[in-house]
Amino acid sequence: MLGFLIRRIVQSIFVMLAVALIAFLMFRFMGDPVNSMVPEHASAAERAEVRERLGLDQPLFVQYGRFIARAATGDFGLSWRNARPVSTLLAERFPATAELVLVAAFLSLAVGVPLGIYTALRPHAIGAQSLQLLSLIGISLPTFVTGILLILVFSVWLGWLPSFGRGQVVDIGWWTTGFLTGSGLKALILPSIMLCLFQLTLIMRLVRAEMMEVLRTDYIKFARARGLRDRSIHFRHALKNTLIPVITIFGLQLGGLIAFAIITETVFQWPGMGALFIQAVNFGDVPVMAAYLVLVSFIFVVINTTVDLLYATIDPRLRVDAAPGH
């Protein structure tokens, strides 16, 4: 287990170094910072002086090392667009994205798993059949079209729910939360539905497929032969083994949720990191893009590593070096 853990962490460090390299190269080769810092008619000597003061005359790998050292402390410099520290901008936006993603992730599990179990246990019921069809549509609909339809129906036509912003938020230290006010909760409904829909259908279909597979195995037949009650077979024996692949997919999809939050935040004008990133892409604002890239990659790497470790804990077959005789 320890060897596995170390291997995974070393791998993660390499991925993060590669991502940091991309971010660094973006800084280094998109526009010359010296040009924007010296007067237009500066002499070559003045330019060289600025270059030396910024440390841009040193070898690339030294600069890369310094970039990593600063990135590790969260320092990505100033945004080119509004000259504020990138770390402050991201910290302001982080809670909005985090709350949206967490609610969507929770919804997709809380609704997806029961629906998957239901469609697996009663595959021929009309409800299950129509759910299957609905999930096919759910997977084919582009997410932004889903969002527009939700706004059209629930905001424009029915006028029930707000279509933009976070509503009233409460400050808790540097964190802002929409969980504590009525308007904050109401504002969360449509965006989180839009964000979770794709993942919900995916989890439902996965749980259904896995559950049907597990229900055909010998140990379930044996449990039936022992005369155990259906409820106990389905939920104590079958569900446990069904959920193992769900954990992996859920972990991988959590990263997907963060990426797709970019679209949701644009549709609902949600003041999160994704909206910030889109603005940065639009303006070619390198510091914000680079910082977002590094932060999101870090979250991905942490999630992926956690999922792998969790997986190894749950499924002993994957603990290669724990096997006896090695």
Partner: protein
């Protein structure tokens, strides 16, 4: 010629195609949409980008079956009196051009890297595949956005509009090559061991020659399936980027741009400007995906 046609008609693939209702319907929809895109200038009732043809008093007309609509503008008009039906035709055209071009680019990159990795092996192969792994662990939309952002940062702002289509093709192409590379690499490693490759080697054919003229034709089968499925993905990615405002500009709209523009007028009750392009986009992606699923099953010998 007729003999070729007859042989194609009798093949397993054609038989499976004739038997599958989904494949028939999906390809029918695709033929109609492709034709609409190709003949857009002939089918459109106006050129929506020619300001002289726009009559502002006809703006914001609903579709013809809604009260106040006119049969002259079948699907209504937008706030600038552009005929929605005509803009969709032109938008579909751009969406498909970007889709096909980026699939082609991804295919060329992926097949080349897969061939090289599978044939040469060793460090080169390991480097390509590790890079592919890292790329794959990031959602495609994020990578495409990043490539797009870098291109925008490098190009001067005055060229953003003209270069948009090439930037999009590049961004989507660079994102989607991994699947081709993995598949081609796998089949190449199998083919490399076969006798015809060894025979070619003994005959003194160069490594490049073996890769291109001997191995390539034998590994292209699965590529067809990937290309079909990734066409749907490419069209969707393009639409998403354009919807986010970092894709095609309003002067040269794709379906995604049209949906973004329509979305701005959602609250004025002008639903037709956003709904119709969305419907066409969903139809296109759904049809491509269904056809891709069918092709995958039809070419899979285990399912025969």
């Amino acid at each position: 010629m007729t003999a070729v046609f007859a042989r194609a008609w009798d093949s397993d693939l054609a038989y499976s195609f004739r038997r599958s209702k989904t494949a028939l319907i999906a390809s029918l929809i695709l033929v109609v949409l492709f034709a609409a895109a190709i003949f857009a200038p002939q089918l459109a009732t106006q050129n929506p980008f020619d300001i002289a043809q726009l009559e502002l008093w006809n703006s914001e007309l609903p579709p013809f079956w809604v009260e106040g609509g006119s049969t002259e503008y079948l699907l209504g008009t937008d706030t600038q009196a552009r005929d929605v039906y005509s803009t969709i035709l032109y938008g579909l055209r751009i969406s498909l051009i970007v889709g096909f071009a980026s699939v082609a680019l991804a295919g060329v990159i992926g097949i080349s890297l897969g061939l090289i990795g599978g044939f040469v092996g060793g460090t080169v192969d390991a480097a390509i595949m590790r890079f592919a792994d890292v790329l794959l662990s990031f959602p495609a939309i994020l990578v495409a956005l990043l490539v797009n952002g870098i291109a925008r940062g490098i190009l001067p702002p005055s060229q953003h509009q003209d270069a948009a289509i090439y930037v999009l093709i590049l961004a989507i192409g660079l994102t989607n090559w991994v699947q081709y590379a993995r598949t081609v690499r796998g089949s190449t490693m199998v083919e490399r061991q076969k006798e015809y490759v060894q025979a070619a080697r003994i005959n003194g054919v160069s490594r490049l020659g073996i890769m291109i003229s001997h191995i390539l034709p034998n590994v292209l089968g699965p590529v067809l399936v990937i290309a079909t499925i990734s066409l749907g993905m490419a069209v969707l990615t393009e639409a998403t980027l354009s919807f986010l405002g970092v894709g095609m500009p309003a002067t040269q709209p794709s379906l995604g741009t049209l949906i973004r523009i329509g979305n701005e007028y959602l609250f004025s009750g002008i639903w037709w400007v956003v709904i119709f392009p969305s419907v066409i986009l969903v139809l296109l992606v759904l049809a491509v995906n269904l056809l891709g699923d069918w092709l995958r099953d039809a070419l899979n010998p285990k399912l025969r």
